[in-house]
Amino acid sequence: MRFADAVEFALDSLRKRRLRTFLTASGVMIGIGALVSMISFGKGMQKNVSEAFKASGLFNTIMVMPAGAGIPLGDPDRPLRPPEKTARADAVLDEAAVAEISRLPGVRMAYPEVNFPALVSLEGEEEFRLVQVIPAAVLASGTAQVRWGRSYASDNEEGVIVSRTLLRRLGTSEPGAGVGKTLRITSVSVDFGQLAGLDLSTLFSGQKLPVAREGYDFPIVGVTDVNAFGGGPGALQSDVLIPPGTARRIKRLPFTSIWDLLRMRGGRLGYSAVSVKLESLADLERVASRVREMGFTTLALADQFEEITRAFYVMDMILAAVGMIAIVVAALGIVNTMVMSILERFREIGVMKAVGAGDKDVKRVFFFESGAIGLVGGAAGCALGWATSLVINRIVNLLLARQGMPHFDYFAFPLWIFLGAVAFSLLVSLVSGIYPARRAARVDPVVALRHD
């Protein structure tokens, strides 16, 4: 039997049982549709995260931290690399160390990660926030995208950049309108005048603490958009950015937590972290090892991104496993339909055999029938998965837009998803067809043709 004839026989038989063919193919369509949207969701999230990573320039960044115990924050499995054994044990991550790192070949810039807690207020509304100190040059390198207004032009400019989210919290829902308003940053420092007479043991019985509060006013020069996927250490997730020269004027405590004090070496504090931007990713290993030789711990975000990618593989697997449940149900539907079809076409199979059809011919016709169901169901499933994803994406974006989130495509559809889905559907349907096809081929013509 020729290939074309077998296809024609198979299609003819499917046409004869239109409703059942439609229902069975619908099962496949739903299964493949679920799989396609699940996988495209996984791929979409991965794409968003990696694009945010790339846009933030964090790939080319090494985080440098003091040696010693890590602060128990964030991911405990971060690929931290401790200092080299040969390094000095009392290295402090101070201004001199930052300058030395800056001079290493391959380093574009190095700047300390400095932030301090403050009370920020705008037109009577208040919020607690970490204020992050960021040099103008770092901002200019694309670390944060200022959507409204502009970046500050120098490290001494009197101006701050705030996030769209913070503006909303402070009562200004139109980000553009926030530019030019005055933000008050209130910080706390030690009141040395009171310090002398302080009796620590009476601290909790009502005595006034020797601290001073002071507010500073800055014009808002720019507003950043929300970055839902800009995760990772060093990403500018702070809601208030301020240039270092200007920040120096703000009286504040030189540490944000007791951990900073516990980490001191020889009474010297140093920075808790320094970001090192590289000229290119190729310099990463060389610069990182030089920094470790200086006695500091390094964390390469490129290494961490690999871990994130691995985590996405796991997520893809889980999503695919959920989609597979629907596929298994669809496959059982195909087996059921095909076995029913054998019972109905018992006599027809007998006739085919009586006029000379071999086992292979009969097998082929049934095999092609289930294959056709898989092919059509798979193609329709791609369309369904795609359409469903568009609808979900639209709804989610509408809902999140109300909370001030920008538009995101939560699903990604590389071509291989569609091709893979159709091929997979075909494979599943062919596997589902093996048993029915064998059974059809084994039909005994004498029994099938026995007088009715």
Binding site: M1, R2, D5, F9, D12, K16, R347, E348, G350, V351, M352, K353, A354, V355, G356, A357, G358, D359, K360, D361, P445, V446, L449, H451, D452
Partner: protein, 232 residues
């Protein structure tokens, strides 16, 4: 008449298991049918006529003895070889016609050609030719449900001949037909036998038709040959 017979069976036997009981449908059947003969097989129902025909047509396999058709031992063939034998070696027609209801007369005649890999154009041509031969050229595009019983059996005859076998096996071909149509159909078989030198083995219990058209009669009872006679 020294030509070897087209069909020869030796101690042919077929037994079934009905539960634990062994039932002999055919026992020790030794026959020889010369090429170009028209042989009728008669007997009461359950005498093993259809079983014999199914064995000769390669639809069934014997539990004992041998079958030779055209010098080839078909009782020793595997499933694939048997399918090939059914395709080219013997055409069969049945009491209930066994046409595919969803296909036209022409497509039904084409069916054996589909399984012998004949291309579509040639298939159409040959099928039309055979339909014309059985007098149904004008009914080519009708489905079986639109044809009379006699017409359906003619389509079945055309189908059985499509691949050009030397042997035609007819299992009660007139069982579902009225007397006049029955005569026409058996007449058609006799004509093919005469004109195309086709060997015909027909199971029938209509003695008058057998007497009118057959050259030899094989009588079966309880799975055994009880008599063979030559009528012409």
């Amino acid at each position: 008449m020294n030509k070897p017979p087209l069909v020869r069976t030796q101690s042919l036997a077929k037994a079934y298991l009905l539960g634990d009981v062994r039932v002999a449908a055919l026992e020790d059947v030794t026959l020889a049918v010369g090429e170009g003969r028209f042989v009728a097989v008669t007997g009461a129902s359950g005498s093993g006529k259809s079983t014999l025909l199914n064995l000769l047509g390669g639809l069934d396999t014997p539990t004992g003895g041998t079958i030779e058709v055209g010098g080839v031992l078909i009782s020793a063939m595997d499933r694939e070889a048997l399918a090939r034998f059914r395709r080219f070696g013997a055409g069969m027609i049945f009491q209930s016609f066994n046409l595919l209801p969803s296909r036209t007369a022409l497509e039904n005649v084409e069916l054996p050609l589909v399984f012998s890999n004949v291309d579509k154009k040639e298939r159409r041509r040959r099928a039309a030719e055979f339909l014309a031969k059985v007098g149904l050229a004008h009914r080519a595009n009708h489905r079986p449900s639109e044809l009379s019983g006699g017409e359906q059996q003619r389509v079945a005859v055309a189908r059985a001949l499509a691949n050009g076998p030397r042997l035609l096996l007819a299992d009660e071909p007139t069982g579902n037909l009225d007397t006049r149509t029955s005569r026409e159909i058996v007449g058609l078989l006799a004509e093919l036998n005469r004109d195309r030198h086709l060997t015909v083995i027909m199971v029938s219990h209509e003695e008058s038709l057998v007497r009118e058209f057959a050259q030899d009669v094989v009588r079966l009872r309880d799975g055994r040959v009880i008599a063979t006679e030559s009528l012409a």
